[in-house]
Structure formats: structure tokens, C-alpha cells
Amino acid sequence: MVVKVHGSVRAACPQRVLACLLEKDVEFEIFHVDLDAGEHKRPEFLLRQPFGQIPAVEDGDLKLFESRAIIRYYAAKYVDRGPNLLGNSLEERAVVDQWLEVEAHNFNDLVKTLVFQIVILPRMGEHGDLALAQKCEQQLEKVFDIYEQHLSKSSYLAGDSFTLADLSHLPAIRYLVNDAGMGHLVSERKHVNAWWEDISNRSAWKKLMELSKY
């Protein structure tokens, strides 16, 4: 069964899902959603995702949304296929979950706000709030310091293997490094830098970058 992914291949949250499906070698088909035209706010799309956000996934009669729920579902469904993105025990899975929550609550909002102010708003021809962007940058420095300390003791966030916890960071860090001119946050930290080099060179992520045609 081909998984239908509704979203834009260049948007962070669909990329989170696509990276996971590529890691697990799950066949998918992308149904592009035209955000500029407001397609995601139209009634037909709201039936798929009532909050009017991408991605939304359709797998037979199963309909899912929220990218982190989708990746948890597929990583568990195909646990025996490809790399184990979840850990080998209940305890290891809990640590993966913990770092997924860190990404969702201590990391993502800062990146989203920063990128919105210095990349998205200018693209729309508007002025971003540079003071707000700077505040986010300062807070991100502190978060990355914690990651640096942690990754000095652990090859990946949840242990010795690549898991959903690392995968979940890929789209946002790509934005920081490639679009927002914030690469220094990564490159100035030895272990964060090594970790980013490693995870962003995985074949699944490279395949996604090709699909996204940057």
C-alpha cells in the first residue's frame, strides 16, 4: 500500500515524515499542497487536517496528521525493516521519545520563530523582527550548548544509534544552516557539528534533498 503524503516537499514537517519513510524504505506518493494559494485552509483539506496544516497522511483507511505522531507510527509499524529508529527496549524507546519531546518543546519553537523572522517574512516582502530573531538565537545558543555536552558523551541523541530523535531535527537544522545563515550555531560546536555532518549525510536525507530540488 502506497502511503499518500499531502504536503509540500520543501516544508519542514512533511520533510520529517518523508525522511522517516525513506529511512524505512516505505513507498510513498507526494500530493503537493499549494500553501501560497492557501490550499491548506480550504474545506477539502480541512477534512484531512482540521488545523489546516501539512502534512496529512493517508494509508488505506488510516488517516493521520501531526508529523511526530506519523513518524512514531511508521517507525513502530516497520520496526524490523531498515534501521531501527526506536531503540531496542522499552527503556531505549523512552529515551528516544524524551529527545523527540526536547526537539518539540525546547528547540523547534525557537527555530520556527527565528526562521519566520529572518527568512519567511523577507521572502513575503515584509520586515522581520530582528530583535526577536536575536533573542531566539541567544536562546538557541544555550540549547545547543546542552546538546554539545550531551553529544560529547553519546554519538546520537538517544544513544549509540541514529533514531527518530536525531531525524526529527533534520529539517529545522537544514533551515538554520542553509537558509537562515545560522550555521555557526552548529559549526562552532565540535560534537554538534560532527553529529550534523553524520545525520545530514545519510542516504535517506540526501535522497530527500534531491526530491526537494534545492
Binding site: Y73, L90, R93, A94, V95, D97, Q98, E101, H105
Partner: protein, 277 residues
């Protein structure tokens, strides 16, 4: 070796030597050896059993947090639903204990709660709750629909909805109303108004969802509903409780989930901001 073990050994030895038990022949060296081995076996068994028991007690769950905190309450509610035994260790937030090195060793982000389960240390209340719900899936109430993959998937979706849609709108309101005054600031009405509008839109979607099913993930209470309890509980004490009360299905859902015994146990300690007599 502990005193009581020595006393036990001596007592056991006395009985074996004085009571005419069929297997002891203390008037022979073989008999003496047999009784010595028997006593040794009894002592060894007792000592190792007591060590195992004390190990088990150390292996029990330890939750570090504050009883009136929203995120701690999230985990406490889950533990009660699962009827799990745990030890609660209070962290003194007002003294900044959560930002000191001993606590930072448990959670480098300096936040409560933290769960310790033997060798495992976990932070992030939603990850802790999901772990507890999975570990104790066969006891108490099934919060994750572990025997139904499709239902379980919907629980995961609405857990994320709480995390990504509901929480970002409700938590700034709760923060401004309850916490800002403690920091010597007036609540910022602009932040409250902006988030009330966001929350209203989210609750409209909830109203529609809950008109078609009793709970968020389906016709069953789940971890997804539970995740909403602690922040909403405080929100209902603000002047804007009408956001919930004006939406009939949301109101009915709230009244249902907030009256569950597991939550009532936790809510009794959620008195942040109340004047102490």
C-alpha cells in the same frame, strides 16, 4: 554480616542441635556437617532474599517534581491511572533547586518532572507519561489502546495535537495569569488576548471533533485527553473559563475527564497562586 543474621544463625543452630530432627545427627561429624550446611543454606537464602527485596525497593519509580506544577501533575495523573507505585520527591522551585548542578545532572534543561526507574532517568512529562502508560499497559486503565494499532495511532495524533496546538495557546495564558504576578509583573493583556484567540480556534475544532466522538481519539478516554488536564485545570480558574463552558461538547468532555478519580487525587494539590491561610 548484620546482627540479626548472626542471631538467626545461632538460633537456627541451637534448634538443629537440640531438637531431634530426623536429618541431624549431631553426635557424628557427618551430622554436624549436615546441620552446618543446612544452617548456611537457610542464612544464605534469607540474606539474598532480603538483598533482592531492598533492591526492588530501590528499583521502584521515583518522580521528582512539584505537586502544584502542571507538568508534574501530568505524570502523577498517569501514574494513578496505571495504579503504579512510586515515590514522590519534592523539588524546591522557589529555591531554584531545579537549576542547580545536582538536578541538572538529571535534566540538563533544568525542568521538572524527572522520573528515575532503576538505571533509567527520563525527563519531558509527555515522554515520561508515555513510558509509564506503556510499561504498565496491563494494569489500571489502558491509556494507549495497546491492543489496537489503529486506535493507538489516533491516540498518538491527538497527543501531538495537545503538544503542538493546544499547549502553545493555553500555556501563555496560564503563565501570564498565575506566574507573572509572582515575578512582580502585571499579566500582559496583549499576550493573553492573542492566545485566547488562538485557543478559541483550537477549541472550535475540538467542539466539532467531540460532537462526533466522546473523547479526542475516539469513544475511549486516552492519554491524549489526559495530557489536557493540568493546564486546563488552572485555565478554568482564570476569568476566561467561558472558552470551555460556552462550547457544550468541550464542556461535557472537560467535566468528564476532570472528574476521573486519578485526576481528582492530583488536582487536590494543584493550588498554585491560592492564598494560604
Amino acid at each position: 554480616m548484620e546482627d540479626w543474621v548472626i542471631s538467626f544463625t545461632l538460633t537456627a543452630d541451637y534448634y538443629i542441635n537440640t531438637v531431634p530432627l530426623p536429618f541431624t545427627f549431631t553426635n557424628t561429624s557427618a551430622g554436624f556437617l549436615a546441620s552446618f550446611i543446612t544452617v548456611f543454606a537457610i542464612v544464605f537464602f534469607t540474606v539474598s532474599l532480603s538483598l533482592k527485596l531492598s533492591n526492588l525497593m530501590e528499583m521502584a519509580l521515583k518522580l521528582y517534581g512539584a505537586a502544584m506544577s502542571t507538568c508534574t501533575s501530568r505524570v502523577l495523573t498517569c501514574l494513578h491511572e496505571k495504579e503504579a507505585d512510586f515515590e514522590f520527591i519534592s523539588v524546591n522551585l522557589f529555591a531554584g533547586e531545579h537549576k542547580e548542578p545536582p538536578f541538572l545532572a538529571k535534566n540538563p534543561f533544568g525542568q521538572i518532572p524527572v522520573l528515575e526507574d532503576g538505571d533509567l532517568t527520563l525527563f519531558e512529562s509527555r515522554a515520561i507519561s508515555a513510558y509509564v502508560a506503556e510499561k504498565f499497559k496491563e494494569s489500571g486503565y489502558d491509556l494507549i489502546r495497546y491492543q489496537n494499532v489503529k486506535e493507538g495511532a489516533q491516540v498518538k495524533v491527538w497527543m501531538e495535537v495537545e503538544s503542538q496546538q493546544y499547549h502553545p495557546a493555553i500555556s501563555p495564558i496560564v503563565f501570564q495569569f498565575f506566574v507573572a504576578p509572582l515575578q512582580g509583573k502585571s499579566p500582559e493583556q496583549a499576550i493573553i488576548d492573542e492566545n485566547l484567540e488562538k485557543l478559541g480556534k483550537v477549541l472550535d475544532i475540538y467542539e466539532d471533533k467531540l460532537s462526533r466522538a466522546k473523547y479526542l481519539a475516539g469513544d475511549f478516554y486516552s492519554l491524549a485527553d489526559l495530557f489536557h488536564l493540568s493546564y486546563t485545570y488552572y485555565f478554568m480558574k482564570t476569568p476566561w473559563a467561558n472558552q470551555i463552558n460556552d462550547r457544550p461538547h468541550v464542556k461535557a468532555w472537560w467535566e468528564d475527564i476532570s472528574s476521573r478519580p486519578a485526576f481528582l487525587k492530583v488536582a487536590s494539590a494543584m493550588n498554585f497562586g491560592e492564598k494560604q491561610n
